[in-house]
């Protein structure tokens, strides 16, 4: 493993059984049956307060969770979340979501239905520390066989949950009434009791992009914030953000001007730091310089977007994390027939940045890089068929 001295590779790679080489970034066919015995490349990792790491992956139409007590070197026996297999979406933009608070383990995912582009938002919880799960429930209260997916879940330090998803009930209703409707809608629910009960389905935004992952994170005031690709005007697919609260104002988060009547399949990343500052990272195909951008939003003030990554190497799929004034960006590039995991850091809240470093590389397909949730530590993970699940603890440069 090659890396610069200031990055500490924390753990050896963990081999996941039977990883399927599925193309990421593309929504799987809705009618598709789960690949038998094929494990998803798209996984999620979260941490609990005791220092345990939890892994969610999908195999045979079942979400499976396991816990590591040695910092990710080994994961214990898996618990099947949904006893009855269903078509669980597991790809770059649409992966099972996982959160842990004490004995409560919450899992949310997108289920594909037979009709193309249709699905349900599914949720299951454990109240015995992940030893067993209660039967899954469907979160969307609109049960038409239409689009409800791209499920994103976040948990606050106090155990509160927020789940957001893209929902086509409004576009379906408009079209049934013979009206035009652009894009999809973003709906959410919240739970104060670990998922035993949820608030009513609430629309946060109308006219969102239909095919990009939503980023969601709790602010220190206990209100979750979402970042998503929106449709401004007829076809400008730039980013927007809003607090998951009644009457919330939608703020335009990027002014890239990407005019496209199409599917970018490329969502953004959001991390709200302990001071409530929002760190945003995203991809745009518009403007004079398409590529990756970072900016920070402090209340209404937003910094000028900073371009990063090598556009000539297909830089994409960013992740962002912060601790104090340290901020890390991670993303994926592809060059010379190899994917590489790129990282750079700022020590001053996102103003000055280090040069990018290559943390790992892989031939074959790879998952997107993501930060472990549920911890204040900068733990980055990357799943590849060649090397399994790799975890990295990023350290601030001295």
């Amino acid at each position: 493993m090659t890396m610069r001295a200031h990055w500490l590779a924390l753990f050896a790679a963990i081999a996941l059984p039977g990883v399927a080489a599925a193309a990421d970034g593309m929504a799987p066919s809705a009618a598709a049956m789960p690949h038998a015995h094929a494990s998803s490349l798209a996984v999620s990792v979260t941490a609990d307060a005791e220092g345990g790491l939890w892994l969610a992956r999908v195999q045979d139409g079942q979400v499976r969770v396991s816990r590591s007590v040695d910092g990710g070197r080994h994961f214990g026996d898996e618990t099947v979340v949904n006893a009855v297999a269903e078509n669980v979406r597991a790809e770059g933009q649409n992966r099972p979501q996982l959160a842990v608070h004490g004995e409560r383990v919450a899992v949310a995912w997108s289920q594909a239905l037979a009709k193309r582009f249709s699905g349900h938002v599914r949720f299951a919880r454990s109240i015995d520390g992940g030893r067993s799960f209660l039967p899954p429930v469907t979160i969307n209260d609109d049960l038409q066989e239409i689009g409800h997916g791209f499920t994103a879940m976040a948990m606050h330090d106090d155990g509160r949950l927020a789940i957001a998803w893209l929902d086509s009930r409004d576009s379906t209703a408009a079209r049934s009434a013979g009206k035009e409707w652009t894009g999809s809608s973003l709906y959410y629910v919240q739970s104060a009791d670990g998922g035993a009960t949820f608030s009513p389905n609430t629309r946060l935004a109308a006219h969102t992009c239909q095919c990009c992952r939503i980023a969601i994170d709790f602010a220190p005031d206990g209100v979750a914030v979402a970042l998503w690709r929106h449709v401004f005007g007829t076809d400008t697919r730039d980013f927007a953000m809003a607090r998951l609260a009644p009457g919330s104002r939608i703020v335009r988060a990027s002014e890239d001007g990407w005019h496209i009547d199409g599917c970018p399949h490329h969502g953004g990343a959001l991390h709200v730091d302990a001071r409530g500052r929002r760190h945003l990272a995203w991809f745009t195909g518009g403007g004079e310089q398409p590529g990756l951008y970072y900016r920070r939003a402090d209340g209404k003030r937003m910094t000028r977007p900073m371009a990063f990554g090598d556009g000539g190497a297909q830089a994409g799929h960013p992740a962002v994390f912060s601790r104090g004034d340290d901020v890390w960006l991670a993303w994926r590039e592809y060059a010379d027939n190899t994917f590489r995991l790129q990282v750079m850091e700022s020590r001053d809240g996102g103003r000055k940045w280090s040069t990018p470093s290559t943390l790992a590389s892989a031939t074959g397909n790879t998952d997107l890089p993501l930060f472990v949730t549920g911890t204040g530590e900068p733990l980055l993970y990357w799943n590849t068929p060649a090397s399994g699940l790799q975890l990295f603890r990023l350290e601030a440069r001295p």
Partner: protein, 168 residues
């Protein structure tokens, strides 16, 4: 289920079989859909000397693609000389489904390919580095094979104008 499900089970069993299976070729796509690997695009272009054509990149999971493909299907019906090459960015396991959808768009007779690489980035690296995977993606080749590529649904009028300028 249909043949698509059967293809998936074949893929699954190949994965199950371990290293021997991994060393053998991927499951054959539907007969009329060719696997796109490195060098395939050059073959597509080389097979059309002095001819204008369109390469339409799409996928079965792309919600916007049917709109443009139906338009292309209708234009193909009115202009049989229009040469559309369909390239699905799915995997060979989806080839049959892609072919069925293409037939539904009126493009059953178009030459069809499906991405057959570990990751789409591998093929995009040689197709066009300015393409980031967004769909649909339409590449217009004129008679000199100068390429103009467009992301997102191309309006019908623009397709019509291109045909009038390039299709005999």
């Amino acid at each position: 289920m249909n043949t698509r499900a059967a293809t998936r089970w074949l893929l699954a069993s190949l994965l199950l079989a371990g290293t021997t299976a991994l060393a053998s070729p991927p499951p054959a796509p539907a007969a009329q859909v060719q696997p796109m690997t490195r060098g395939s695009l050059a073959k597509i272009v080389a097979a059309r000397p002095g001819k204008a054509f369109i390469v339409a990149y799409w996928s079965v999971g792309c919600a916007h693609c049917p709109k443009e493909l139906r338009t292309l299907g209708e234009l193909k019906r009115r202009h049989p000389q229009l040469d559309v090459v369909l390239v699905s960015t799915d995997t060979p396991a989806e080839a049959q489904e892609a072919a069925q959808l293409a037939a539904g768009f009126g493009l059953g007779q178009a030459e069809q390919w499906v991405f057959a690489a570990d990751a789409p980035e591998m093929l995009r690296a040689e197709i066009d580095l300015r393409w980031h995977g967004e769909l649909p993606r339409t590449a217009f080749y004129d008679r000199q094979h100068r390429v103009q590529a467009v992301s997102g649904v191309v309006p019908a009028q623009r397709l019509q104008a291109w045909i009038e300028a390039n299709v005999p």
